[in-house]
Each structure stands twice: as C-alpha cells, then as structure tokens.
C-alpha cells in the first residue's frame, strides 16, 4: 500500500473528523483566496478598464486627476501635433463639464465634448454615433442608458441642454440636440447620468469657442511601447503630463489602492497563520492518538521516512481537498462581497474589488501548500523520533 493511499485511509478512518478538518481548511482557504483576489483585484480591474477603452495614454494639464485640474488650451493644435508623432496613432481631446437637460422633466448630467473618430471614448449600443447624423436641424448627442430611462428618450428625440461649463456666464442659453444614440461610457458609475456631444457643439453650448481639453485620450501605434510614446509626447510638450495606462495604474497603486493591498496582506497573513495552526493542531492530535500504532509500524520495519511520508501525504490530502473546495467557496464569497463594496457611490460600474486572475490562484496554491507542509513538520518530527520500545511498553502498562 503506497503512502498516498495509506494516508487516505488514515485520514478517513474517522470520516467526521476528516470532514470537519477539510471544512475548516476550506473555510480558511476561501478567506485566504478572497484576500488574494482583493489585494490585486481593484488594480487589475482598473487596468482592464483603462485598456478596454482603446486608448493607452492619457495627457493631462497637471499630475492630478482630470476635471479638477486646469484645462489645456489650443486643444485642436495640440492634438494634431501629438498625432503627428510617429509613435502615435490617434489623439482624441475631451472636455468634461456639467449640464442640465431642461424641460418638463429635467436631469443634471456630465456632458462630454469630444471628436468622433474610429476610436471613441464610448460605445454606442442603440441608434447611431454622433458623426452618423448629417443634415439634421439640431446637432447630435449621445446619452447613456440612465439618461434614456430617466427621461424616456429614444434615438431621434430632441432635448434641450443648458450647459454649466463656464464661469463667465451665470446663465447660458439653451441649445437643442437630437439624440443620435444610446452609449456606454466605460468609467460611468452605475447611477451616473452622462451625455456626449461633438467638441464644436460643446463649445457652442458653453457660449464661446474655447478650444480647450481636460484630457487627451491617446492611442499609441500598434507595436509601439506606450512608455516610448509617452517619452515622445513629453519631449514634444514638457509642460503637459502624459501617462501610459501602466503608469496610471502605478500612480493609483501608490495612492488610492495601496490601502486595500495593505488590508488584504495583513488579513491574508493572519488567515495563513490560522490555516497553519489548524492543520498543525489536527495532525498533532491525530499523531498523539496513534503513538502506539506508529511505534508498532516502526517495530514491524517501517522506516522513519515512510512514517514521515505518510503524514505528509495526510497533510497534503487534507489541505489539498480543503483548498480545492475553498476555490468555489471563495469565488462565491468574493462575488457577494464585491456586490456589497460596489454599492459605494461614484465608482465606475465596471470596476471590481475582487478579480479572479491566474497570479492569485498560483499564489494561493503556493501559500497553502507551504502552510500544509510546514504544519506537518512538527507532527512528522514527533512521529519519526518516537522511541519505539518505551512507546510500546507505555501502551501496555498505561
């Protein structure tokens, strides 16, 4: 009988004990797994979100986040100059302001001004994009699903917009737009109201041609490293701040998300220690109960190594089975916790706190295996150093 099968039989000689042990490992393993998903989840989700948009570089006026910072002047010329760089494929300037759709039902919304190109900062899901509307009485506008539902709008409807983008005028005139389509904006929080118009129409709503941008969305040419493109932009315009997606993720990692990472690292360490304690305690107790049996096996000629291997397998079986069960358990728990955390207002709807990624699974397997092996160390030591003669004697005398 090989060690593995022997360990299997040893472990399940007391099925309830084995089941409880495995359930314990599964519960602890699920927590550990979740902590690992959490430690990187937001970053990965943020990176995916950035990458999905189709632009890999952002240019801003300052090192702080857009909107709050000052705007960049000469947007059209800047965009053209940057786009002329050999590393760059496309540049889309973007203005972000506040506006109000007025009428019998009115809503406040974020109004985006941009130029439409083959790459948009949004995805049209119903109707058509801005540039598909020609010869209409009114300039086109795309709205997100929230606005469409709030005001019961369909493509073709006309809305009246009052922009609140300028400090210069207290009350701006209204502009009528025709809804060309309904679009998804990747960074929208779930209850966000958003609409987008072409840059000239944004300026018109603002009452003057400002030719400004809050941010340039930049796509580097295929095959180029975005970081090289960033260097080229910085050489061209040292006064602006360009970041690749990876650099943005790094910045966020240093500021916003480091806190999730710290929490999850602390909790993961504690959970790992619990896993170690649980397995170690269970194995030690079970070895203690089996002293006579182990001494008899040694007397019958089983080597120390064989006894150690049996126990190691027993630990691996316990940790392996529990650890495997922990994966679906952890995923279910993560989904639930993610839903709770995502209820926080103001977060992009596609941002997640717990993200399943291969590195997390690999780390989980490595950590849990290490805990299992380390936890077996003491019971293995006890069992293999067991003095045969006095143990056999004590069992008869005691």
């Amino acid at each position: 009988m090989n060690s593995f099968y022997f360990a299997w039989r040893s472990l399940f000689r007391q099925p309830v004990r084995a089941a409880l042990a495995i359930a314990g490992v599964a519960a602890i393993g699920a927590l550990l797994f979740d902590m690992l998903l959490l430690s990187q989840g937001m970053l990965i989700s943020f990176r995916d979100l950035l990458d999905d948009v189709g632009f890999d570089i952002r240019i801003m006026a300052t090192a702080s986040t857009p909107i709050s910072g000052p705007r960049m002047a000469d947007a059209a010329a800047t965009a053209a100059a940057v786009e002329a760089l050999p590393e760059i494929d496309a540049v889309v300037p973007m203005r972000i302001g506040q506006a109000r759709i007025v009428g019998p039902d009115s809503v406040n919304l974020t109004l985006i001004g941009s130029v439409t190109s083959s790459r948009d900062a949004w995805t049209v899901v119903e109707g058509v994009d801005l540039d598909a509307i020609v010869g209409s009485d009114h300039p086109p506008l795309v709205i997100n699903r929230n606005v469409a539902e709030e005001l019961a709008l369909v493509p073709g409807a006309t809305v009246t917009v009052r922009s609140e983008c300028s400090e210069r005028y207290s009350v701006l005139p209204t502009v009528d737009f025709v809804v060309s389509g309904i679009a998804e904006f990747p960074f929208d929080p779930v209850d966000q109201m958003t609409a987008a118009v072409a840059m000239p129409d944004f300026d018109r709503a603002c009452g003057s041609v400002m030719d400004e941008a809050d941010v340039f969305l930049v796509a580097s040419r295929a095959g180029e490293y975005p970081e090289m493109a960033v260097k080229a932009i910085t050489r061209l315009r040292p006064d602006l701040h360009a970041y690749s997606n990876a650099q943005l993720v790094d910045r966020f990692q240093q500021v916003g998300f480091s806190y999730f990472r710290q929490i999850s690292t602390v909790l993961a360490t504690i959970t790992l220690f619990f896993a170690f304690l649980l397995i170690s305690a269970l194995l030690t107790v079970s070895v203690n109960q089996r002293f006579a049996e182990i001494a008899a096996l040694r007397a019958l000629g089983f080597s120390r190594r064989r006894i150690a291997t049996d126990l190691l397998w027993e630990s691996i079986l316990m940790v392996g089975t529990g650890g495997l069960l922990a994966l679906p358990l952890g995923l279910a728990l993560a989904t639930w916790l993610d839903r709770i955390l995502k209820a926080m207002p103001g977060l992009p709807g596609d941002l997640h706190f717990f993200v399943l990624h291969p590195a997390a699974v690999a780390t989980y397997v490595a950590l849990l295996s290490t805990a299992g092996v380390l936890a077996a160390a003491y019971p293995v030591f006890l069992a293999s150093r067991l003095p045969m003669a006095s143990t056999l004697r004590n069992e008869v005398v005691g």
Binding site: M1, R9, E293, R304, L392
Partner: protein, 228 residues
Amino acid sequence: MSATVIETTGLTKTFPMPAGPVTALRDVSFSVAPDEYVAVTGPSGCGKSTLLHLLGSVDTATSGTLLFDGRDISALPDAERSRIRLTQIGFVFQRFYLLPMLTAWENVELPQGEAGASKAERRARTAELLDYVGLSQRARHRPSQLSGGEMQRVAIARAIANRPRLLLADEPTGELDRSTGEQIAELLDRVHADGNAIVVVTHDPAIAARAKRRLEMRDGEIVAEASA
C-alpha cells in the same frame, strides 16, 4: 547464514530515571539457533519486554553485544535496521496493534508491500497466510469486526508475511482467555514447525510448556534454563 539467529554477550540495559538509573537487564548472555523455540518467563518487571525489544532491534543496549545472524546491527543507521526488522524479524504484540482502518487482508499485505513484493506475490502470499491462520473468510473484515483471538491470528500472519528468520512475541495471549490462548499457542507451534526461530515472552505456563527451551528471568537476569 550463521549458526545462531541471535547471540548476546553481557547484554545490559539501564534506563536513566530521575530517582536514579534502573537496570532492566543485567549481563544477559545467550543464543538462539535458527530452529529454536524459546520461552522467556519471569515475574512482572524482571526485564522480559526489555530483552525482547533489544532482540528485535527496536531498542539498543547500554552495554554488551548482540549479534543478529552473526552480525552486530546495533550500529547500523536507522533505515537499515528498519529494513532488517521488516524482512528478517517478525513482531507479535500483546495488544495486536493491527491498523484499525485496514482490513485483515490489508494488514497482512502491508509489510509485504513495504518490503517491495510485487502485487501478484502479495496476493498469493496474503491468501496463503490468511488460510494458514484460518481466517480466509474474514479477509475483508476490519479489526473491530474480529475477536481478540482472530486479531492475534491476523497479527501473526502479518508478522511472518515477509518470511522472517526470527519471530518475537511479547505476551501474545496476554489479552486472551485460556482456550483462545491455546489456539494462538498451537499456531505458534505450527509457525515453529515450519522453520522459524521463535522467542516468546509469556506469563502463561501452558504456552511456556510448549517451547523446547525455557529461560527464567528475575531482576534483569536469566536465572534458570530448562529444555524439554
């Protein structure tokens, strides 16, 4: 092959205890031939188990020498001594020590697998042994489903599974009633008749009477020897 399975000279075992050392075995010299059946008797605490443990290489002497098959194995590394116990020495315990989660068949098969016997060899040998001890019908039963006598028979089958040169038994009938003890004694007789050297420690005069050679111990020494 040596003329003796066991040969001891001046074998002494002292246990260091807080209240002072306890000498469990004092200057014991004797030998066991490959076809001998030796019974060791004596009052409780006289050192019988201690002697048996030294003979079986599960413990080492404080002084004196012990040759197994003409060879001093006390200085060998643990792995090699384990191997010798596995293949050349059989152990039968008062409390059987069968593995509770394994069937009778698996208990008998276990040391064979450890010794490296092939599956076919193990199957044939295990069937033969269970038949030998009269438990073919109980092959699939676990120890908890067997009586004491049956468990001891399985334990004897396990002890001789690798065809050892020497079978050591410490009070093999200590937990059994008289008539069951008789059955075990008869089985040991058969094992001996099949060519195994046996050293059995016993309080039971009926068992001792079956051995051709009887050693009487007192206070860690062999004080009398009788042959039938």
